[in-house]
Symmetry: C2
Subunit: 338 residues, 2 copies
């Protein structure tokens, strides 16, 4: 391993001179020729700063954590892309951790991740199923934190999407097609984003003077399996809806599959529109009509706010509205048959 003093020895200067030159410190008052010698020596030796030493000295790691419920979905990967791009452009690395694994892996993983000075801050994507107690570990910690998907006043910042707007667009699309019996396949009751999405759905229905019978609203969750169960419940009704809005594209896949199993033809017997776009939506059969939310920007803004928080202490609660949600009409929606 090449250290600063190796470089210093080769360049015939002191370690502090090397440190200053290589980090391009603000007070780098070093002669041009010396600087050149130092840079040459560093290059020739293949010098790389030791991360642990720097972190120990400065109490900063230049690493932020992105904690998510699961990594197995297209939604996560867009968020990651945005967060990573932003982090990278500020010289930060992103450490991804799943809450899934943490809970399975014993209580130790979370404290280990956030309590040992590995991270300068955390981006926490609160999923449909995150338990309040797990959330509190983060909220009560002292690490700079930006919560994604739900708002918690206190010492954490937050970034959310305009979920109500997205759901409203999906619902209005169905209403525009002539549907009057529209069901909701929603997130779990404890889910913040689920509540906002339901709100958007209800808002659009109310504006169109359409009733929302109690049993047209399901809140089983965002997973494919849960979407399937919701569809089964809805289809079993005496007067089933002719269209459904699904609060998450993954659940929509499950609903689609269940519809097929029940012999319902989509979109003839049932139209399906879903929140969030993903490549799986395009490849489903029939391809799913979705509302594309600005997930990359969501991740980017969350990271930007976290870095701001780390570097200046600023705390913001933000709704990402740009670019706006976009309705992508594919083949899973059509006018009602009757």
């Amino acid at each position: 391993m090449v250290t600063l003093s190796d470089v210093a020895a080769r360049a015939g200067v002191s370690v502090s001179a090397v440190s200053r030159v290589l980090r391009d410190a603000p007070s780098t008052r070093v002669g041009a020729e010396t600087r050149q010698r130092i840079q040459d020596a560093a290059r020739e030796l293949g010098y790389r700063p030791n991360f642990a030493a720097r972190a120990l000295k400065s109490a900063r790691t230049n690493v932020i954590g992105l904690v998510v419920p699961v990594v197995t979905n297209a939604i996560f990967s867009e968020i990651l892309r945005g967060a990573e791009e932003e982090a990278q452009s500020h010289g930060y690395l992103v450490f991804v951790a799943r809450t899934e694994g943490m809970i399975d892996g014993g209580e130790e993983t979370i404290p280990r991740l956030i309590g040992e000075g590995r991270l300068d801050g955390v981006l926490l994507q609160v999923g449909d199923a995150m338990r309040p107690e797990d959330l509190h570990i983060f909220l009560n910690g002292s690490l700079p934190l930006v919560v994604m998907n739900s708002v918690h006043t206190g010492h954490a910042g937050s970034v959310i999407l305009d979920d109500a707007r997205g759901m409203r667009m999906a619902t209005e699309h169905l209403i525009g097609l002539g549907h009057t019996h529209i069901g909701l396949v929603g997130g779990l009751p404890r889910s913040d984003s689920g509540r906002r999405r339901e709100e958007g759905f209800r808002g659009a229905m109310a504006d169109a003077d359409l009733p929302v019978p109690e049993h047209y609203v399901t809140r089983l969750g965002y997973e494919p399996r849960q979407g399937g169960a919701a569809l089964r419940a809805l289809a079993g009704l005496a007067e089933p809806p002719t269209a459904i809005v699904v609060a998450n594209v993954n659940a929509a896949h499950g609903a689609l599959m269940e519809a097929r199993r029940l012999g319902l033809s989509v979109p003839h017997d049932l139209s399906i529109a879903a929140m969030h776009d993903a490549w799986t939506a395009e490849n489903a059969w029939p391809p799913l009509t979705t509302v594309r939310m600005p997930l990359v920007e969501f991740g980017r803004q969350a990271a930007r706010d976290l870095l701001e928080r780390i570097e200046t202490g600023a705390l913001v609660d933000r709704v990402v509205t740009d670019p706006p949600p976009e309705l992508i009409v594919r083949e899973s929606t059509a006018p009602p048959a009757r």
Copy 2:
């Protein structure tokens, strides 16, 4: 932040005593009563070891890297699960990095990740599209390395799956159904796993005395889009195949979609069998027949070998064969119509 000396002060002992007790060092010759006082003090103060200090002192971070081409797919997530479980049970954390982002993000990201002492070792999943020069950065580095999916004699270990066996099973399933005109939708020519999969396909065909016309073999890649392009080429042939084996489930989704676009009914006009299982396969229409490979075990073994490498220096090249590949017959395969 609570440090060792804070704990020492509270327990009325020296820092070294605290260090020994809390790490449960082999030579922990400490009185039972003292040990108790130390543990109490640490708990009361909420002591957490400082990661950077420990890393600086010991030149070990207890973090391994998992470097993958993309995180957006079900295959990756199974590998991660296996690797993370194994790592966790040995007290290691897993840092996930995408080569995608690294290449976009400038040359600096790879050296930064592997050259600054952040990681004790790297698990490198060589994807379909990894460029040889990127691979070499890792191969030439001094960090313990286990390569997943391709074998490189030298100072890196390797773990591969029995790709030939899996492809053979998919192919034999099609042959058993009565197909004689079977095409291959394969990985890129430079892909190691692609070569092994093609080998399995050809082996099964040869054993059944079935010809493999040159243009029945495509090598466009594992992505959905590339699978679609491959299908288009195959379907455009004067005498198109009645069945295809797709070397990757993601490409199979693309092929399925393209088939629909061309008006081909699956499995009536064309049977499709694919390598790797995923939830998307089950939710496709028709649900895809696949060969389930032991991906969790793949990740687990790779991590195990890496940790072994780190701790004892042992270097192994391994083929993960247990559990064996499993054919999952769904509805995308049937006897040929003619």
